[in-house]
Symmetry: D2
Subunit: 339 residues, 4 copies
């Protein structure tokens, strides 16, 4: 039950569902959510309230009501998604891949239990089946209950929810897909998601499950002027070993305090112009995109000099045997490792 | 309605009423309550949750569930009371005055809307009437609803709750009292409580409303090695102008990050030994004191050298015209100004 | 004198000039620099040391040695420049304007006392005169003494340093320039820099002092998905009232925790392709750019959908009479207002 | 060389030795020293500067200039001593033991490299030899160089500085002492100081090295209403196994954010009244005590009810085999473990 509801004597509990946005403190902000982006770098949001907390066998989950970024989904102390700007992340993850596909009908999401990725996918009229495969049922239930913006998606008949390890699910089922979307935590040595970023995984599991002309896209970690070297360049280089055409792109997400990256890959070239993308957006997607149009994608896929060169010079490939260590993650299965 | 109650799918909202003390974050503490004790000094508690918030015409109120100090009542961003150690404050405020009185039957509390002061008073068997006079109905209602430890006191037939300005209430009613207790915010220039610390107030309002042998006691702000100079010494010196016998005493309250002070005053001398106090405690008070016994009071009323001398040398008297400025308060009517 | 120099008994003072980068604390980071980006958003850097502090009639200045971003210049509690990524800001401010100019020989910098803007300008072989006009002599001296990376620029014979109000300097001198660069604090109501962003200033002072084909470029505040509405869109729209061709562009600067913006303006169109820019970079600029090449500028000047639309729809014009209030600035003359 | 000295162009480096107390930031305090008193409790001081840092084979050392507490000595991220209130700690550690001794001529300090304990000891006219035995030469040198208030003590001919493990030094030398002072870090499992708090250490090393009527006194960790249970009660109970008369006492030290404890022990009873202590203070100690007089000691040695009972009921004895774990210490040899 939502803790923000009951009101007695003009006093509201939680976050003023009575419609009065009472701040905790008329003066200085007293309650803060603090995230250690790096050991020596902190990002702190003033808090209105801690709306809900939960706990699965894998992770601690919380939905915070923060002042600067609205409702924020936090898993194991790391921000996953903030209400005010998650649309940037999810539009960038989903639309470029689907727009470049001639007719994307069946989609498989690795992870994405939050529901926002499915939400963006289901806006595509051609899509008739989305399989959301997340390992953590609690996270899915939590988000299904509390992220109102994804309610519709969770109830959409085209959505099939599977609680399982994505790798096992892909391997064990016959089904193929037009697009496979990776919406998992960053690859970390020893982390549960690492194995879903390796060359052999892409080669032996993902590629075979893509239909002809299929496209694979994955979130690819921080992509800032220095932070891109943590996983972005490695994911890019690993995908280059497996697919003929690989397109990295990035966008600044304020609540992440960094530019974030994604990588699209296919054996068919990505050849749409900004105008062609805009036409397809108009034709194929229900509602308006807030972030992504043709020009935006053009800008996003034109990386700055240093990042471009770094990606070109990256030699590291994720294999079963190698890994890169990223700050702050032991074995959490959370999307944003904020490296 | 307590936000900590509802549990769905093994996920608890709020603070784990399901009996599972789930921390928000398995690793580092992410949510913090922060108080600026001084402009250059901060005291921060890791937060489990923000249980309830409220808002009166005067102040913002919140009940936080903090890790180090349990449930904490915060008014206008200043900690009033923490579950784990408020007993120190309230036992010290109440028992010395009542124990030194021959037969304390009627008590008037200026402020104390939290209910804890009344709770300690009502433990005295001789007491048959406690008037709690607080100006802020919302604070009283909030505490009545959420501070379970004071439930019994709020429901006690001997308690009479008055929502009014304490000065006006004392002036306008005929009634006299055996003990008058000041449980208000510290005196601050321009603050609403200032006028309840002046020489004329003590002389013209408090003293006349005390019965023969009556005792006045008030909370008196920080009493640390340096902080005592903010209001403690002034309250002491002001009372010395009005009453023949004035006894200052102090105790360290962990959640306040300081030693706190109180001052007792009467026209009759305070002559009990530690043993005599212990006998009276046994005879007169229901239940066990956790903090205060005879020796504790003896220690508390023996101030350290520098503080003793400072009080003796204090010349400032609170009058209608003078005031001392204390950090962080404009016009909030909160007990602890944490100066 | 640099406080980081003296070493006695194997102990280094300040920041380990003895070559040993001793952290203050082997365990958790204890010393932090904290910036309130907004009232409810904080950005904190672990500190190695506070290298130098200074104070002019206008502002407090400090050079901090921070762990995540190296040496950081802080003015009035706001980060101006961080060693690790100031090149992004300064390359973006300087090179697009000069590269688009047929033959940029004379440049006027409004502000820029830090010296980094001059540094980038002086890399252009065609440039034979740079006038740096900053109002705060202390800031200039401080940076001249402590920002080693700008030593060469400060000593360059082509640089002429003027301590004055930039508006008065431009108005009172006869001289005209090929490029005028605005490297000032954001326009804030009541702030000293506001008057250097108005339509009348651009019209009556800047434009007349530009040579034929001259270009004006200014830093233009935060340019994030929401933050761009603070000053970026207004600066853009104001310039559009005065110049025929106005090009806004932006880039993410990690230490600023935001995307930053600049606006270039001229009465001559900006028509270079990415390749043409690369050729000019090679021909005209000594040394390598770390951030900006043709593609980078192309990406930077292609704003995302929402920002593009917002700029197109902006109607506010900075005039002597109007202003927009921006968080956190009274009258500080600092470049980055971090709004 | 002190980094606070050099001034150029009216700009002072470090902490304004030019006499101008320039704050780093005219507005909000930007630089903070943060100490995690417990995992969920933080105590933060605004910083003027980081004056000196050092590093021995054992620990990281720093002298910070903090706003609320002046110069603060920090070892391994834990506050040892703050300029404004270290007199409370050092007067309490030293004077009760020496005052109760008939004629204290020779003193052995275990630890105390900071020099403040020696400073207080050397104020006693009867004292003709003080052996300061600290294991960390760097700490001693650092404090000798930078803690001006201890300069005189460090240069006193009666002081003999030994760099060694205190236990080994006592065991291996023939010498006996009138008073032995323990000024070490709290006993922590696995910590280097633990072995200097055990029953066998007291029995086999300390007691034999005390002269007839000798007194042992040691700092004894936090002594707050709850925190006393960490080490204070155990140190008390362990000493009770070895000495006939054991007196625990405590005082609030603002910069420690807690009440602190010490324990005095001897085979001769401690029988002085407050007045007798005052006479001895006047006769024996050069200069004025700021904190401790007879009444102050009377108050300090009268513990509050809960602490008194807790000490009486404590059964734990520190032996070679047992230990209590205290937050935040692995193997640092610092006095205040802030548990």
């Amino acid at each position: 039950m939502d803790s923000a509801i009951s009101c007695t004597n003009g006093i509201s509990n939680g976050n003023g569902v009575c419609g009065k946005g009472y701040s905790l403190n008329g003066y200085r902000k007293s309650c803060w959510y603090e995230e250690e982006i790096e050991e020596d770098l902190r990002w702190c949001f003033a808090l209105n309230s801690i709306l809900h907390t939960g706990h699965s066998q894998f992770q601690d989950i919380a939905l915070l009501d923060t002042k600067p970024f609205g409702k924020a989904l936090v898993i194991d102390g790391k921000l996953q998604s903030a209400e005010t700007d998650e649309f940037i992340y999810h539009e960038c993850l989903v639309h470029p891949a689907l727009l470049h596909h001639p007719n994307p009908k069946t989609i498989f999401i690795m992870g994405g239990g939050e529901g926002s990725t499915a939400r963006e996918l289901l806006r595509h009229k051609a899509v008739d089946k989305v399989v959301m495969c997340d390992i953590d049922e609690e996270v899915v239930q939590f988000c299904k209950s509390y992220l109102l913006v994804n309610r519709e998606a969770f109830c959409d008949p085209r959505l099939k929810l599977v609680i399982s390890d994505a790798r096992a699910e892909l391997e064990n089922k016959e089904e193929n897909y037009d697009v496979i979307v990776g919406d998992l935590a960053d690859p970390i040595e020893g982390g549960p998601c690492y194995k879903l970023y390796t060359k052999s995984f892409y080669e032996l599991v993902v590629k075979p499950k893509l239909n002809h002309d299929g496209i694979f896209v994955t979130q690819a970690g921080p992509a800032g002027i220095f932070s891109h070297a943590e996983v972005f360049s490695c994911i890019y280089n690993t995908l280059k070993q497996v697919f003929k055409y690989v397109v990295p792109y990035s966008a600044h997400i304020p609540s992440y305090a960094d530019t974030w990256g994604w990588v699209m890959a296919s054996d068919k070239p990505f050849v749409l112009t900004a105008d062609e993308l805009d036409i397809r957006i108009k034709q194929r997607i229900k509602g308006e995109n807030r972030y992504l149009d043709g020009k935006t994608f053009s800008s996003a896929s034109t990386l700055s000099k240093a990042v471009r060169k770094s990606l070109d010079n990256e030699t590291h490939i994720y294999t079963e045997g190698s890994a890169r260590f990223i700050y702050g993650h032991g074995c959490a299965d959370n999307k944003q490792s904020h490296v």
